[in-house]
Symmetry: C3
Subunit: 345 residues, 3 copies
Amino acid sequence: MTTKTNAGNFFEDFKVGQVLEHATPRTVTEGDRALYGALYPTRFAVPSSAEFAASVGLSPAPVEELIAFHIAFGKTVPDVSLNAVANLGYAECRFHRPVVPGDTLRTSSEVIGLKQNSNGRTGVVYVRSTATNQRGEVALDWARWVMVHKRDAEAPAPETVVPELAPAVDAADLIVPEGLDFTSYDFAAAGETHRFDDYEVGETIDHVDGVTLTDPEHMLATRLWQNTAKVHFSTEARPDGTRLVYGGHVISMARALSFNGLANAQLIAAINAGAHTAPAFAGDTIYAWSEVLDKAETPAPGVGALRLRLVATKGRDETTTLRGEDGKYAPGVLLDLDYWAFVPR
Amino acid sequence: MTTKTNAGNFFEDFKVGQVLEHATPRTVTEGDRALYGALYPTRFAVPSSAEFAASVGLSPAPVEELIAFHIAFGKTVPDVSLNAVANLGYAECRFHRPVVPGDTLRTSSEVIGLKQNSNGRTGVVYVRSTATNQRGEVALDWARWVMVHKRDAEAPAPETVVPELAPAVDAADLIVPEGLDFTSYDFAAAGETHRFDDYEVGETIDHVDGVTLTDPEHMLATRLWQNTAKVHFSTEARPDGTRLVYGGHVISMARALSFNGLANAQLIAAINAGAHTAPAFAGDTIYAWSEVLDKAETPAPGVGALRLRLVATKGRDETTTLRGEDGKYAPGVLLDLDYWAFVPR
Amino acid sequence: MTTKTNAGNFFEDFKVGQVLEHATPRTVTEGDRALYGALYPTRFAVPSSAEFAASVGLSPAPVEELIAFHIAFGKTVPDVSLNAVANLGYAECRFHRPVVPGDTLRTSSEVIGLKQNSNGRTGVVYVRSTATNQRGEVALDWARWVMVHKRDAEAPAPETVVPELAPAVDAADLIVPEGLDFTSYDFAAAGETHRFDDYEVGETIDHVDGVTLTDPEHMLATRLWQNTAKVHFSTEARPDGTRLVYGGHVISMARALSFNGLANAQLIAAINAGAHTAPAFAGDTIYAWSEVLDKAETPAPGVGALRLRLVATKGRDETTTLRGEDGKYAPGVLLDLDYWAFVPR
């Protein structure tokens, strides 16, 4: 057999400053919006209703930011993380403008750091990825670091470069979508009355509802984003025959569950950090709770920003125990996501 | 934790005359049509083909009436039936105009009746719900009654008001979509030759085919309608770990199966009554049969109306035994739906 | 019960020269494209990206040829193969023009051959099926032969007519979509660098990745194409309670897996032959490999054609053993498909 297939990059294939242009550009459609609504129990009014979106200055109605994120992220997998041991973290993810049906996204990544591990067999690769639309405008960008296998343990270690990444996007750097105006926001249509002033830093919100994961559903979702990591699709890829749920599936499920208590956190502005603290599998029942980490004003009319911690758990965590006494994540915690959302004031 | 989540209304929260504006408006898209076709074995020519729909005076092609019904109905769940013991019945459901991709539906409900049960712990709430499109035109309306828990058994009983609901929509009150014209109806394209005159009152039709339900599919469907009742999604919501199939999933499955024998019952005009006579679960194989209950002419060219009983069974009921000698529904009967459909004459 | 349902045609119902107009016309939408991407791990740039498609002369972006094939094929099932014992083969399938969202496909079939089997209880029916769009233009056509039950074993045998079918579509007969131009093809966006000249006749390519089938997914797919053969949907249709996977599901899965190594085989031009050599079921993990059978130039700028054998296996066949010493397909081989694809030169 010939080897025309993609074997992915190994640690020694990455150089600081290198730019990777990822295949395949992908046009977003109303089909994506419908499928997203079938896969996740989302009810946020902006992506659900063209009329509601127009009433807050957004027309055509954008799709959920996580659709754009998953598509843009999926493109980086074949070049960045096909040989990854672990996805270590995200930072500095900002949504620059809404993505609407008809937009075509492509992604490129620049290698911004490299650090070989002391075992000599793996290393950490830092990339900054940027997704642009068909007009060349930035739709979103983010930094990410992954631990990647070396092809050859004997290959020399590169110079260590560890980029400085902000612990959170500064509120002043959030980008409000052009035209967004929450001054005549329809709270009845949106589903809840809570606005910016009703949320207090430190407050936690139990989102109550649970959803049990199934293999067909997470595979449909992950394929939709053209994410090709085989551990999600094949019972022959892992020794125990389970299919690992794509971490983004848990993010989207938790975000959708958070509607119940955060229905007015309409738009995701930025993702500050994210940790997939334990693997998820079919049969797990996912619950979510949130904590208000910070609040900020924005220059847009009627628009405030909440910085939120979104925690997904396997089984319901009614006590919001994030970490045990040892500082480690409590058993059952699957996701610890830190993000900014725009809410009406 | 704060309690910003929706706990739903309890029996004593409802007042006769009260109007509930339901969240979230929802724009219908071609994605919904495609998903509906993936979830149910529907082949009715009007929603399947833009060309066929145009040839009978409908352009753009409407989506299946049940898509509009499920979306409109789903919106009422958080306010009306989150604390329901049981969905007791439907009546007087009329489709006022076709719903097409791009239409945004919102739903409001008026409380039209209340009756506390003698046990003092539950009561029956009657609502008339109306879904309107983005132009404020009525898309469909229906009455429904549900048994709802009281929050506090000691709360005083309201005055009993039981609305008079028609046992069936009068044929004269059916609303034919503007422009509908079956005079040059293409029976070959539609798939069957049977027309209005070929159906006789009292006739029963065995729809032959069966479909086995799965959990991922009914969850995808129910989420698509933004129906949030947790018994459909979580194995931790019911003591036995099963996920209850949304009753509307069985309606849509039975309607789609009825194509085989009723391919020309193109459009649902009204739902007269509906009873979910037993719960359905993944693994059940659904079959359907129909009975012609009534026939009526309409003022539209070439358009007749059939009043049909659509029965879904778990396992095939080749004898159309609807009820046993005790008058109760026979075991295996899941759905008894009474509706009007428009057919070519 | 009345028998208004379709019992399908039996062998003695077919006459050479007879033309069957199949129900139901079906409009293709962006929802189909999205669902296809959720069901199969496809990443071919033309159907994925409106921008990429336009850059090679195709706008709007066509949907995958197999979407058109499955829809067109599904329409023939109720009339041709509802009483089939086996689907014996395909030949001479050509894609005449791209299918884009908004196109409505209808299919008719002409009976081109009949041959009763010596057992007197079954016979082979040969049909040539043609799918046309709303302008009456041919979208695709193909020949197919199926073994069909006789209703009555005593019915006289028809005159034997066996059509001459080409073992492969001649390269000169391939139809290049109007406007297709690969001269400024973006290999980075498409995902691989291999072009026409990099493929050699006789070369085999292992597509590496595997996907485990599930029942909900193959049912969603098969329903989407309005294919009604009940063995795919009901656990009560076969003695062992399994649901047989539609052969076309395996074709689409293998074609999508072939992206890894054949990312530039952008468009399917023709299907020369296809054999479903073993049934597939939920739980099977599908892998694929390809063999280059032939190469040809085309008159279109920068466009070459590769004739490819696409083999799907259950479990990974790293040796590309197609047949055993006895000449029979090796165990584990599910599909042997012979097709032409357009690639950049």
